[in-house]
Symmetry: D2
Subunit: 140 residues, 4 copies
């Protein structure tokens, strides 16, 4: 059987629960229950990827003042030290002082989290965050 | 049709996704997909209750040192000011100094969050947290 | 030096940042920076307790329909199997059908999380949540 | 007084708490308390920006299968409809099927969240996440 073939299975649920869920997903813009449940299931699988230190993908986003002496080269150095998990970097000039840098990453969950932490705690980086998603393989 | 009657509906999903999900829920101890999906659906509905400031239930849990002069009466005063959303309070002596207090609450989400915040920021309360769940009505 | 003695240390901060923070904490009801920062620091230490599987305290809160045959005895059985980490249980009748049960727990973080998960995934338990706090010892 | 001038203020804290915090921040790689507390303070300010629907920056990251007919144009259409809050888009070919797309955004918190949600719930988008950070202005 082809792995990406669509299969159909039955779910038993309290009628009252189903009616409430139907209202919720309609409001969220879904047109079918299958689509909404597929998204819920994928969220669970992605959470598991990160918890079990599997290969994941994501984006490390942080804000810093590019005027700060030595900061840009420090950021670049750290990224070079982790080049095996960094795919590419997007750089945005938010205003005269602030830069937004978004690093696309793919690698084991713990390494990605370690890099995110390292970048966020550089003196001069004002704030950072890690957007956690998947390489897509485990949620096909 | 009785609202709590069990209905059955079909879900279409990629076969590969379903196999991964089946492994995940088996590991979590579920015996059927319906049970696992029912729990996922309820989680979504409970999240919505809190976001939309509906009537919710929960537990405000915090730790404090009962030796601190005036602290216990301050905690009691605040709880009396919100008695319309407090159902009951459980008090536990963790050790010689530390008390764990668990306040069972039912009310509108924002009021409950406000009370939790008020208790957590009392000087002398070492840490507090809000466990968010449901009155059960919207997830039957 | 007495461990619970108050010490004073200096913090260097951008003036603009401090002004914004002062406004924030005033709005939250704090009267001094020390109190606000003490709470922030404790939050960090409690997060660490849970991440490092130290001894923690908390409350497992869940909602269920007591009419469900066999459910109450199943909940009781599981609690007995974990009596070494359960301190006491608070039981509230929310309405004709729904019960709120709040289990005060103290133990290693992973055991507490395992118990929470076990209770939440019982068929018939409508929703559950774990409020994570501290035994107070590590945040004195 | 120059807003970005460094000011120094005193914090009073229990000695035992400070020792534990010093160990924690040393482990996290900070060299001074001021740096660690500055980061904590900024996190609080960024949280507030998002809660109060202020102008924020961030990255919407999602994974999809580019083979899916019509999907890429649908993604592009939605992005064009929100071009006033989208700065630029980074596109990465993860493998033969999966693409990672990272959209740098700047705008009001609720609009950004709405766009993130819209992209995540497109049929064919396998998973999405929103990394929340700041324009930098409120955390200077």
């Amino acid at each position: 059987m082809n792995m990406s073939e669509i299969v159909r299975f039955g779910v038993s649920l309290e009628n009252s629960l189903l009616e409430k869920y139907d209202r919720l997903i309609k409001k969220k813009g879904y047109t079918t229950r299958s689509e909404a449940l597929r998204d819920l299931i994928r969220q669970e699988l992605v959470k598991k990827e990160w918890e079990e230190d599997q290969e994941v993908a994501g984006a490390i986003t942080f804000v810093y003042d590019h005027h700060k002496r030595g900061l840009m080269s420090q950021i670049t150095d750290i990224q070079h030290d982790h080049q095996e998990i960094i795919i590419s970097t997007q750089h945005i000039h938010l205003d005269h002082d602030n830069c937004l840098e978004i690093v696309a990453v793919k690698g084991h969950a713990q390494e990605v989290q370690k890099l995110a932490h390292e970048l966020q705690s550089i003196k001069g980086v004002r704030h950072g965050t890690l957007g956690m998603t998947s390489t897509g393989k485990s949620i096909e």
